[in-house]
């Protein structure tokens, strides 16, 4: 579905990552897996270091820490926030939404909108779309978009397919109206019939938590996982991305009237280096235009990988200049989305550590 927004901009982005770092090489020692194959995985997939929270840290802890930082620096004023959108699939509670939890902890004003959205790796783009729509309201001048997950808490430490590559992070993006005549193009798609490829089967209402759902089960290849843990069919997801993302981006650029080579950077979700290299090759984009090294520094931290790549790969540059970028997210749902927009001259664009 094609979407267009006028006179909207990203004012700045802050990414909060846990100070706690784990290494792929050390994690792989816990598995009965040949060292040579681990090294190959590291080399091809780009897995290396990742940031994970402690066992009791929640999304609201990272978000409150980051928002307090913005208030202290004067990059955002508490009373300016007219809407708070929180996109997460690892909420603090089933009820209430994490947006309300953050609102309460920060003592924000009552006369505002609080919204909690459940979206995974496409979450940042879905959040931007929602935020830009809200900015059409006269009384909403500033939207704060929090996109965060603590997925490391929902993966089995005995599942080699996913444990050594997942990271945690919280991104905070401020959205506002643009006085210049900017145009943002977006394209979103969904295929719920393939939702089983990436899911946590138990712990919700369909399969509520029991001792059974929490029990580790032998899922083959020496991996153990409970039904309350995240399951990913890696090969199916790889195929999904290679098949669906290139036509989506082509359609997005065509509709926007922007040739492929006019785009400065393609800032995509960061599952691993291999997938992004293949994606760039397939779309005939120079690999240098599609950064792919977030996973090796922070792990795959769900939707927040897109703002992480903005801050990590283009941090200083986006403070000084403006670039035409194509954002892309893809993952659980299955959902996938692209967005073409000018970003830059940010008020802030940085990564801080949560201790």
């Amino acid at each position: 579905m094609k979407l267009v927004f006028h006179r909207k901009r990203i004012a700045g982005t802050l990414v909060v990552v846990p100070a706690n770092e784990r290494s792929f090489a050390a994690d792989m020692k816990n598995f009965n897996f040949p060292k040579s194959r681990s090294l190959k995985l590291k080399e091809v997939m780009g897995f290396d270091k990742r940031r994970v929270v402690g066992p009791d840290v929640c999304v609201s802890d990272l978000a409150v820490f980051g928002l307090e930082h913005l208030f202290e620096r004067g990059w955002l004023k508490r009373e300016e926030i007219d809407a708070l959108i929180v996109v997460t699939q690892t909420p603090d509670y089933l009820i209430p939404g994490t947006s309300c939890v953050i609102h309460g902890r920060l003592g924000l004003k009552q006369d505002m909108l609080s919204l909690s959205i459940s979206q995974a790796c496409t979450g940042y783009l879905i959040g931007l779309i929602q935020g830009f729509m809200l900015l059409d309201q006269e009384s909403i001048k500033k939207v704060v978009l929090v996109n965060s997950d603590v997925l490391s808490r929902k993966v089995s430490s005995q599942d080699r397919n996913i444990y050594p590559l997942v990271g945690d992070a919280c991104s905070i993006t401020v959205l506002e109206r643009d006085t210049e005549g900017s145009v943002v193009h977006a394209n979103v798609r969904v295929d719920g019939s393939r939702s089983g490829a990436l899911m946590i089967p138990a712990g919700g209402m369909r399969q509520p938590h029991t001792l059974e759902t929490a029990k580790l089960e032998d899922v083959g290849d020496g991996n153990w996982r409970a039904r309350e843990h995240l399951f990913m069919d890696g090969a199916a997801i790889f195929n999904f991305v290679q098949t669906e993302v290139p036509p989506l981006i082509e359609s997005l650029l065509k509709h926007a009237g922007a040739p492929m080579d006019s785009v400065d950077f393609f800032l995509c979700h960061q599952p691993n280096r291999f997938m992004l290299e293949k994606l760039a090759d397939k779309m005939k984009i120079p690999r240098a235009k599609m950064p792919n090294d977030v996973v090796g520094h922070f792990g795959n931290n769900s939707g927040a990988t897109v703002p992480t790549v903005m801050a990590f790969n283009l941090g200083e540059r986006l403070l000084r200049e403006k670039l035409l970028v194509c954002l892309a997210g893809f993952g659980a749902g299955l959902t996938w989305a692209g967005m073409l927009l000018n970003i830059g001259k940010f008020d802030f664009n940085t990564i801080i550590e949560y201790k």
Binding site: P34, K40, V44, A235, A236, F238, Q242
Partner: protein, 76 residues
């Protein structure tokens, strides 16, 4: 489709000298999730063929895999 070339590409993925048509894929040390992804990527990039994850899991020998790719491959 040039089958010897396909087996050579498969050998590179599996990190071995040679792959014979009758070789059973599961018996290679290198036949793991990364190899499967590499085969999917190779089939896509070199032959314009999209193989489903469940299809690749159902093949037994290197020849089965070559046949699967060939059946989907449409020469230009």
């Amino acid at each position: 489709m040039d089958k010897p070339e396909f087996y050579q590409r498969l050998a590179e993925i599996l990190d071995v000298e040679e792959v014979k048509p009758e070789d059973v894929l599961k018996e290679f040390d290198g036949w793991d999730s990364l190899a499967i992804l590499s085969v999917l990527a190779m089939a896509d990039a070199k032959y314009g063929v999209s193989i489903k994850a469940e299809e690749i899991r159902s093949v037994v020998s290197a020849q089965d895999l070559a046949n699967l790719v060939e059946a989907k491959h449409k020469p230009e």
